[in-house]
Amino acid sequence: MADPKKPRPAFAPWDRRELPGAFTVEESARRVGNYKWVEMRLFEALGGWVATVPELDVKMRLGTHCYKHAWHAELWHKRLPELREMNPDRLTLPANDDIVAFMDAMTEPEGPDKTIEKLVGVYRVLIPHKIAAYTYHLNNTSTITDAPTIRSLKFALQDEFDDWRDGEMLIQSLIESEDDVRRAADHQVRLETLMVKAGGVAGPGSLGDPTVPTAQEVSV
């Protein structure tokens, strides 16, 4: 056995974590607040849609996914006070007005004949953008100082990947004709355009330079 008194380095040779990170406490908190807002809008929409989709397998999947996004919202809600925001509601905000417009458009389909549109909005537009924003945050924040956010991001990403696959498979199983393909694509284009305008789920810089000014800052 190794001598327990022998000095060892604080970081084992295989531990490559580093102190520097791209985000300040405030920037990490802002993004987390944006994530919480998006997760809330998403789980509310999924819950509301359950009663409006006639396809039994889709109904049960939406009920399951609804909880996962509520749990993500809870993770972000609990993280905010740890990032010096003692009133989590103050930072539970959309990144900008364009993400609000996106969410309004995504949650608009209501009738029982709109399952493709509902699923496309969530699984072909929103969730891929969430995966992008979460992955960017995960890969750029300080692996030591912001480790609690990283842990939550990893939990959330695992769910996002699972749900993305579930949703995409449901969409593929529902698309049976050229018309269906066009419906799905048209709706995706409409929503993707709104998302591009928003700059991603956390606004401009969702997956790029966090110092890029937000839409509000540009307009001022």
């Binding site: 929409a45 999924l46 509520a70």
Partner: protein, 278 residues
């Protein structure tokens, strides 16, 4: 320009595939074939004994009723996530209440999955029995406290009684799969009833009138679901009140006594109706 999806989805708009056959509350209560008894009570009959010749069919009917009930419970919990804003106003709900409802969505989704598989196992096809929509109707109350009390205390309370009865039926008939699944669902239902009890207490802490109104609504729903003495403590009640599990879920002994009284009253009224028709 977008137009937002509506709040409070009317029962007529519940989406189903073509296998499902829906009947309204009036149709069910006025069905001459089941005069005096209603809904599942009529199908299940007095007592729910494994030695009965009709027990397998009764169990199948009840399982299908559980399945459609779980779909509506899922839809009701989902609508509560959507229908109310987070806030402190009388029409708003706390953030944590919505989280509980989302959790309930997941649980009810699993219950749908479990009950559809158990139904198949018992030889039942989806849509073989009609679907009545009382459960979802209780979940449309525009007051979130009344909705939670009606659904999570009255209806999920009934689910405790039903699952406990089915679990005992599974044990008595040597069906370990049925017994196993019902026991798991029972654990979830105790959690849901407890959620209802906790939220009722928390939200109405400083509003005794609202609490009284919510408990009154619960009684109405409890009575509706005790139709014809379907659920009670009599020897021949098809569904037995599960006292121990209800107490685990936050009901006091007095509250369980009250439900038992409501069931007796519902049964007496049903018997009087039958006598009047005879």
């Amino acid at each position: 320009m977008t137009s937002p999806a509506k709040r409070i989805l009317p029962v007529e708009e519940l989406a189903r595939d073509e296998r499902f056959v829906r009947i309204g509350i009036d149709e069910r209560f006025n069905d001459p074939r089941t005069a005096g008894r209603t809904g599942t009570a009529a199908r299940v009959g007095r007592g729910f004994k494994p030695e009965s010749r009709n027990a397998p069919d009764r169990a199948r009917a009840l399982m299908h009723g559980i399945f459609v009930g779980e779909i509506q419970a899922l839809e009701g919990a989902g609508r509560t996530c959507w229908d109310f804003e987070v806030g402190t106003g009388p029409d708003d709900v706390p953030f944590e209440l919505k989280l509980d409802m989302a959790r309930q969505c997941w649980d009810e989704s699993r219950h749908c999955e479990i009950s559809v598989k158990l139904g198949e196992w018992m030889g039942t096809e989806i849509g073989e029995f009609a679907e009545s929509t009382f459960l979802y109707e209780a979940a449309c109350n525009p007051d979130p406290v009344l909705r939670l009390t009606g659904v999570n205390r009255a209806l999920e309370g009934l689910a405790i009684d039903v699952f406990n009865t089915m679990k005992e039926f599974g044990a008595a008939t040597g069906d370990p799969v049925l017994e196993f699944c019902e026991d798991w669902m029972l654990a979830d239902e105790v959690t849901h009833v407890k959620m209802g009890s906790d939220w009722l207490r928390r939200i109405t802490e400083k509003d005794p009138d609202r609490r009284a109104k919510a408990l009154e609504f619960q009684k109405v729903v409890d009575k509706l679901f005790s139709g014809g003495g379907f659920r009670g403590e009599s020897e021949d009640s098809p569904i037995k009140l599960a006292r121990r599990f209800r107490e685990l879920a936050g009901f006091t002994s007095e509250e369980v006594d009250e439900i038992s009284d409501i069931s007796r009253q519902a049964r007496a009224e049903a018997e009087a109706r039958m006598a009047a028709r005879a």
